[in-house]
């Protein structure tokens, strides 16, 4: 490291650590403004039904009830993506999943609001629900869930081809096909969604547990039919998101509307059961993959098909669909690639983004698929994967720009530390290896525009420094990153920096905490703003005949304020325009990709199918660790969440009802289930990241899941091609093996899907490989 830093790279506590450990951080449900009314929402008991009538008269008569609203009061549709504006805060025509909101009550007490919901009479015409991918592909018995998309209940179809795929398969010495299934699961944040709104002086203010204050702001403006300058959205202290609070939600719109009607603050906190139905979590995805390789294991072509069970609404689904096909090429050099994707509507809570958004499912498939190819060829799986690793400073066949890439070093670190190569082979004990990559922020905004994705303002007065940014700290430490960057540039410590964040009135835009974008984008914006401020301070100090390093910060700020007047600076970050020349190319590009490699060591019990994870080794290329303590926290949390998905977490339904809508029955790992984790931070100093930094919050989840399944094969000689890898599936695969059947548990085939004609895209010209990244 040639640069000397005083803050960057130091394992400092989070800037808000004290408020979090003393119970002083104010989460949305902790707020209780004078005269607050409590809101409860009546939700559909049917997965699919037309609403014939809604009678709220009895509810309105209940003493204490201040307002009752239905869909007629909030008819304007919204949705996170501009192309799928298909949700209403309250439905008055048709319900599409159990839990779809129908009416809402504001009352002086929560119990009264609940009683009033009971008193609302809704008459339904029940329709046949569509509960699976297969059912959604077929002709609906009654009617389609949504009135767009198609045929039948298909939401989105995509078919893209890059390079000469048929030629690639002809060149191959070995071609293999596999089918995989990844069951859906949910975020399970510890904090239930909560929002509280006021309506004062003709303006709405909403405090919410959200990851995206800006997108909530836009949705409120649209549905309430108020200009954005009449609405203020503030991110309350955040109790965990993982992607689950990245959509605008019905309850956020409802409390704002009820505050406008009643003139009083209105609060709504979802029950845990409602959180399971609010969902927007991991899509269940069925996948088919065919890959051609040379005798040496070099990939010549890949064809990947996905079918996503999307639930009842669009949510992020179009993006999720593209993500199931986009990043295969960012880890492996695939010279020819065909991707066909399909998302269907079903009568279940809508799926959306969960940590890794749309990419853990194909990562599971592709890592196991290559593992199997390695076994076919008699090549060590690590070696086969390594031969295909993507190289730094290249363009993939689907035009994604790879800059820094620490795959080799990550692999080396975990393979060495775990002793993977020299492991003792014994029945019932196994190790599995996998790699992954993830975006450091989506390269395109959710709605098309040319403005920056993140902006920071800094104010200095008489020794005080305040940084303003729309970024929402959801516990990952984005506030600490902002403070570290500003402190580093101004020669201070993070605790010297005051922060104002995630408030649409007082802070400049940041698009939100999703797609692992905040360190990279808000970090770069903060860096620009801080360097401009430093230049003002340096100029003023030098004009007085001294050097910046020789005066205190207070002295420097007084000199600068005297010289220039009010001291403000601003910085912004706009990702480079690097998307390829084809429709759908907006999903996948990122200014930089993180890389991870993982080895899982486990014991597998032949008799019971129970797995015991002994240890996980994980190396993560974060570019540069702005704060290694927080990077480790993100990596360890990702390993934990990956193990939960690999071993036990499932969001499944019976007749439209969630099978396990409680924290006891929806299994997630406890303290006793969590193994020791050895974390290695790999630094590749990305040319465009702030101080070289890339993302840490999502990528390290991805390799854990296939590594578990690969370790099960290593231990027992069976393939579980389905997530979660449960004891029942292991026992069933062993039974098949003992009977001489294929020793595998997983989906049997892939359905016929009416994909559109493939759009053929020329790979990027070779000279793009060497194109220098934009200088920062």
């Amino acid at each position: 490291m040639s640069q000397k830093f005083s803050v960057i790279g130091k394992p400092l506590p989070k800037v808000d650590a004290a408020s979090r450990v003393t119970g002083q951080a104010v989460y949305a449900d902790d707020m209780l403004l004078p005269r607050t009314l409590h809101c409860r929402i009546l939700r559909s008991p049917h997965p699919h039904a037309r609403i014939v009538s809604i009678d709220t008269s009895a509810a309105k008569r209940i003493p204490g009830v201040q307002a009752v609203i239905t869909g007629a009061d909030l008819p304007v549709k919204f949705g996170i993506l501009p192309v799928t504006q298909d949700e209403r805060a309250l439905e008055h025509e048709k319900v599409r999943y159990v839990g779809d909101p129908i009416a809402a009550v504001a009352a002086t007490e929560e119990e009264i609001a609940a009683a009033a919901c009971d008193a609302i009479a809704v008459e339904y015409e029940v329709l046949e629900p569509v509960m699976s991918i297969d059912a959604a592909l077929g002709k609906p018995k009654d009617e389609r869930i949504q009135d767009y998309g198609g045929p039948n209940n298909i939401h989105k179809l995509v078919a893209l081809e890059f390079g000469d795929v048929d030629g690639g398969f002809e060149r191959a010495d070995h071609v293999r096909e596999d089918v995989f299934f990844f069951q859906g699961n949910t975020h399970l944040p510890m904090e239930q969604h909560s929002a509280i709104a006021t309506y004062v002086d003709g303006k709405v203010t909403l405090w919410s547990s959200t990851q995206v204050v800006h997108y909530v702001h836009r949705a409120l403006s649209k549905v309430l039919e108020l200009p954005m300058n009449r609405i203020r959205v503030i991110g309350a202290a955040h109790g965990g998101g993982f992607g689950g609070k990245t959509d605008p939600f019905a309850h956020e719109i409802i409390v704002a509307k009820l505050a406008m009607i009643t003139g009083r603050p209105v609060k709504c906190t979802l029950t845990r059961e409602e959180v399971f139905y609010a969902h927007r979590g991991r899509h269940p995805v069925l996948m088919w993959v065919r890959t051609g390789v040379t005798r040496d294991g070099l990939i010549t072509a890949m064809h990947f098909k996905s079918a996503l069970d999307g639930g009842a609404y669009g949510s992020y689904g179009v993006a999720s669909t593209f993500y199931t096909g986009a990043l295969q090429t960012v880890t492996y050099d695939i010279p020819a690639y065909r991707f066909e994707g399909c998302r269907v509507f079903t009568n279940k809570p809508p799926c959306g983004p969960k940590r890794g958004h749309g990419t853990p499912q194909p990562r599971f498939a592709i890592e196991l698929h290559l593992e199997k190819i390695a076994h076919d060829l008699g090549i060590d799986p690590v070696e086969l994967k390594r031969r295909n690793f993507v190289k730094p400073m290249t363009r993939t066949v689907n035009w994604l720009r790879v800059t820094s890439c620490g795959l080799e070093e990550c692999t080396e670190r975990v393979v060495k530390a775990s002793g993977y190569r020299t492991r003792k082979r014994q029945p019932g004990r196994g190790m599995g290896f996998a790699i992954s990559s993830y975006l450091s922020g989506a390269g395109t905004a959710i709605y098309w525009n040319d403005m920056p994705h993140s902006e920071v303002q800094i104010k200095v007065d008489r020794g005080g420094v305040t940084a303003y940014c729309g970024a929402m700290d959801i516990g990952q430490g984005s506030d600490s990153v902002l403070a570290a960057v500003v402190a580093e540039e101004l020669g201070l410590q993070p605790k010297d920096i005051r922060l104002v964040t995630a408030d649409t009135d007082t802070t400049p835009i940041d698009l939100g905490s999703y797609s692992s974008r905040v360190t990279f984008m808000a970090g770069n914006a903060a860096l620009e703003a801080a360097r401009k401020m430093r230049a003002l301070l340096v100029e003023a100090v030098e004009a007085s005949g001294r050097r910046f390093g020789d005066v205190t910060f207070e002295e420097a700020s007084v000199l600068a304020e005297a010289r220039f007047g009010t001291l403000t600076s601003a910085g912004s970050y706009t990702p480079p325009k690097i998307a390829g020349p084809y429709k759908g190319s907006g999903v996948g590009p990122s200014p930089a990709y993180s890389y991870s490699a993982c080895v899982v060591d486990l014991d597998a019990d032949r008799r019971t199918g129970l797995l015991h994870i002994n240890k996980v080794w994980i190396a993560h290329d974060v570019g540069r660790a702005i704060n290694p303590l927080l990077v480790e926290g993100q990596v360890e949390g990702s390993v934990y969440m990956g193990l939960g998905e690999a071993l036990m977490e499932e969001q499944t339904f019976r007749k439209g009802l969630h099978k396990w809508p409680s924290m006891l029955e929806y299994k997630s790992p406890t303290f006793l289930d969590m193994p020791e984790v050895a974390t290695f931070i790999v630094e590749t100093n990305d040319p465009e990241g702030p101080y070289g930094a890339k993302e840490a919050g999502q990528g390290p989840l991805l390799p854990v899941i296939p590594a578990v399944s690969a370790a099960v094969f290593d231990a027992l000689g069976i393939w579980v091609d389905e997530v979660p890898v449960t004891p029942e599936k292991i026992v069933e695969a062993l039974r098949r093996k003992d009977k001489g059947e294929p020793s595998r548990y997983g989906p049997q085939g892939f359905p016929d899907i009416p994909y559109p004609p493939t759009i053929k895209v020329e790979p990027p010209p070779k000279e793009l490989d060497l194109a220098a990244p934009a200088a920062i």
Binding site: V21, Y27, E274, S638, F671
Partner: protein, 178 residues
């Protein structure tokens, strides 16, 4: 959540609030963080609700209100209990400790200090409950093994940290408290 279908004769049925129900309220004296407070409370209100709504002690969080997640853990006479499953009427004369009662003035408890230093609180929502369960553990066992810490905290879910830094923080605090 109101997921049951509305019976067609609903309008004619007696509504929940109309059903004659004696409002059973009691004056209950609670000792929370060493402060005694007398409150007039409906008997069915849980300790969790009373702490948060009647005493403004919002440091105690809730994750399920069904006794499943450990988030609302408080100490009763030094032992961890789920405040969502307790009724104040059971607790007269018992000493209740919430996260607000851990620090000595502005001086953090060694556990709070260790959690802050090691990044054991990310979103911080499960943190108050885990801190209190850890405090109880360290008061009865000053030198717990890793397995003993895991066992003591197995009823507290955390979705952010993967538990690793929590384990390290409890060990660090235990060392400092000895």
């Amino acid at each position: 959540m109101g997921l049951r279908p509305s019976p067609p004769d609903y309008a004619r049925r007696k509504l929940r609030h109309e059903v004659e129900r004696p409002v059973d309220r009691h004056v209950i004296a609670l000792d929370v963080n060493g402060e005694r407070r007398e409150l007039l409370l409906p008997v069915h209100k849980t300790l969790l609700e009373v702490l948060r709504e009647d005493m403004q002690l919002t440091g105690t969080k809730h994750g399920c209100e069904l006794g499943e997640c450990g988030t609302c853990t408080v100490l009763v006479d030094g032992k961890p209990e789920l405040s969502c499953l307790l009724l104040p009427i059971q607790l007269e004369g018992r000493a209740i400790t919430t996260v607000e009662g851990m620090a000595g003035g502005s001086q953090l408890h060694p556990l709070q200090q260790a959690f802050a230093e090691l990044g054991a609180a990310q979103c911080g929502y499960c943190t108050p409950g885990i801190l209190l369960a850890s405090k109880s553990l360290l008061e009865s066992n000053g030198k717990p093994t890793r397995d003993e810490i895991r066992e003591a905290l197995a009823g507290n879910l955390c979705r952010c940290t993967g538990y690793t830094k929590i384990l390290e923080a409890v060990e660090l605090a235990a060392g400092r408290m000895r």
